[in-house]
């Protein structure tokens, strides 16, 4: 028997050694869509007001997302992902512009982002994609309308809403659709809060409305999912429509679909009603915050029906995922599953749009389903909603816009991650509309394990404001304020935060 490899062959093979070492890196480069000439489709699915706190994948005791748990085994799961703010307007604007609220300046409810971003946003960053967008949320819809010139197919909000009398009001007052509708709701929806401006007609109106949706109500015993006004909808209809449109439109496409659940009112489907009733879950009791209103009395009930609403989202996400898989679109589509902000049921802080920014209201889920990925991955470093836009641009093969404040997320980033990167969350008010500095604010700075809260300008925070410091790695429930123990760390983070705020406010100082 002769030796299959002689000395000459060995030397030839040895010369290939450097190539062998470099191959994985090289292959990764070829894996980059921009190198393949076939850009991937990108799909952003947003469930509104969905807190990471209530997701078992991130440690929640209730199994609110059995389907997502299973699907996410192949996804990249970001465990410390933060929204730009704590409610729709600033949070969605951050997601769509890739900059923080103190930069895009959509600070108050239903405001548009600064004009500069009308042509600089998620849609403009993907110019070679067919861009399609829809949202159930009126305030998020304000941005889709603002950016409509960059969107190839803008699906009007009403398209996926059920027929209602509210539509008539919106059509009559179409130039002031949001407020007329809010006021109409306050007038007529006596069943939502138990009171309404209208004394008598509201009861008649609710009866008429209930008759219209009698059959659907059997499927939603707590009432139809609504936008808080009359605009009832069912996510099934939206999911079917989205899947159908994605099959029909040209590829590559970039879709942004922002569904309202599990946003209040928490009207889950019959299938999940009372799913967690008497399950024995008991949340940690926390003291009422200085911004808290009332006690924590109703929170167990609210939390339970919110959790049951997440089950509905979970089921519908799985259905969308399966529809995309069946149609073959999943093979070339990156799906980003996330939210615009979280939800709170603790410390007297109800739901969202609250002044105190504890984890439940700002830490949100983020999962990226990358086609071809068979092994899941957990990313524990802190990431921000500002990172979505540059990451999607990168994945779609476009260059990362220079105006975003985010970075390409791991593991996609070709650059090493900054170990002590600062993540910010911003909630701010101005004295007037328009070009004014933020005079009242709730600001968060996260660096490594530390999370600094800074509240200023409120009547609850007279003088220099209130500063809190938590080690969110060892104390994720934020029970032990370290501001007076780790004074140096708190001071360093606070100085840095104030400097950032000054820089952001600079153009707005007279």
């Amino acid at each position: 028997m002769t030796n299959p490899i002689n000395r000459r062959d060995f030397l030839k093979l040895a010369s290939l050694l450097p190539l062998g070492v470099a191959a994985p890196r090289l292959l990764k480069t070829f894996d980059d869509p921009s190198m393949q000439g076939q850009p991937k489709n990108v799909l952003v699915i947003v469930f509104d007001a969905w807190s990471a706190y209530n997701v078992p994948l991130y440690g929640y005791e209730r199994n609110t997302t059995p389907n997502i748990n299973r699907l996410a085994k192949q996804a990249i799961r970001y465990h410390n992902h933060y929204a730009g703010s704590d409610y729709t307007t600033p949070g969605t604007a951050t997601l769509l512009t890739g900059v923080l609220p103190w930069t895009h300046r959509a600070l108050l409810g239903n405001e548009e982002a600064d004009e500069y971003y009308t042509t600089r946003n998620l849609f403009s960053a993907l110019p070679d994609h067919y861009r399609i967008a829809y949202t159930h949320n009126k305030w998020a819809n304000t941005f889709l309308r603002q950016f409509h010139r960059e969107i190839d197919e803008y699906i009007p909000l009403d398209k996926l809403m059920l027929e209602s009398y509210d539509k008539i009001i919106q059509q009559v007052f179409r130039n002031d659709e949001d407020l007329s509708s809010v006021s109409w709701t306050r007038n007529m929806r006596v069943n939502d809060e138990g009171y309404a401006y209208s004394l008598l007609l509201s009861h008649l109106y609710e009866d008429l409305q209930a008759k219209k949706i009698k059959d659907l109500l059997k499927l939603f015993p707590r009432g139809l999912p609504t936008t808080g006004s009359d605009n009832g909808f069912i996510v099934e209809q939206a999911v079917d429509y989205v899947a159908e449109r994605l099959r029909a439109i040209p590829q590559p496409f970039a879709g942004y679909f922002h569904f309202l659940p599990p946003h209040y009112p928490y009207h889950t489907s019959k299938e999940f009603t009372d799913a967690f009733l008497n399950d024995g879950y008991e949340p940690i009791e926390k003291p009422v915050d200085i911004f808290g209103t009332g006690g924590n009395k109703n929170y167990p009930l609210k939390r339970r029906i919110y959790d049951e609403y997440i089950l509905y989202c979970d089921k519908e996400f799985e259905r969308l995922y399966n529809l995309l898989e069946t149609s073959g679109l999943l093979e070339n589509t990156v799906i980003v599953l996330t939210s615009d902000h979280g939800e709170s049921f603790e410390r007297g802080l109800n739901a969202h749009n609250i002044d105190a920014l504890y984890q439940p209201v700002i830490r949100i889920p983020l999962m990226i389903f990358d086609p071809g990925r068979t092994q899941g991955m957990d990313v524990y470093q802190s990431t921000s909603a500002t990172d979505i836009l540059p990451t999607l641009a990168h994945l779609a093969g476009a260059s990362s816009p220079d105006w975003t404040e985010g970075t390409v997320l791991p593991p996609f980033s070709p650059m090493p991650q900054i170990p002590d990167r600062n993540i910010h969350v911003v909630r701010g008010y101005r004295i007037k509309n328009g070009h004014d500095p933020i005079t009242i604010g709730s600001l968060i700075q996260i660096r490594e394990n530390y999370k600094l809260h800074y509240y200023y300008g409120y009547e609850q925070t007279p003088g220099v404001g209130v500063v809190r410091l938590f080690d969110v790695k060892s104390d994720p429930e934020e029970m032990n304020d370290l501001a007076k123990i780790k004074r140096e760390t708190a001071a360093e983070l606070l100085d840095d935060l104030k400097r950032k705020l000054r820089e952001a406010d600079e153009p707005y100082r007279k």
Binding site: G109, D176, L179, V182, R186, N187, A196, Y197, L199, L200
Partner: protein, 196 residues
Amino acid sequence: MKKLFHFAADRYTKQGLWSLFLMSVFPQHLWTLILVFRDMSWIIKRTNVWDAIGNASYAMVYAFFESVMVFCVLVLMGLITPKRWGVNKRIAFLTVLFLTAAIWGMVSQLLYLWTIWLPQSVLQTIAETGRPLFMLYLISLALVGLTVTLPVFTFLVWKKAIPVTLDFMDRISTLSTLYLFLDVVGLVIVVIRNLS
């Protein structure tokens, strides 16, 4: 239509209809204003002062339309009252009926606003009957029936009922006129908002 008009003309005077309309305006607008002011700070905090004013304006416009609808219903109801009644008695009677309904509307909402519930012992007793929903409806019906029957009966047997009611209406009419002025202001603001 002409017949109906003549039929109505026999039962109402212009002054009487105006008084009845002002009474239709009063409770609805009062309640709307109370809740609008309650919502004011909430809206200012989340959006701005202009939106809070806008919300109040829409609310006043909606309240006006509700008042008109209530007025129409009251006028129609008045047509089935005995013909022998004088206009004043008819107007006063309709006012009593409407005020009773409006007070019930307010009370039912105040129960939510002030989070007033039936005492646990009462709930327990109702639950123990074995037909709790039926019992709740029965109690409600008895309560509402009593609160409607009592003022109507008093109105019919008490001689001073008509002058007292008319006097009350007279006092309220000034406030109602102010509310109507606010409706006009609200309408102007709604128009401005929709033009801009």
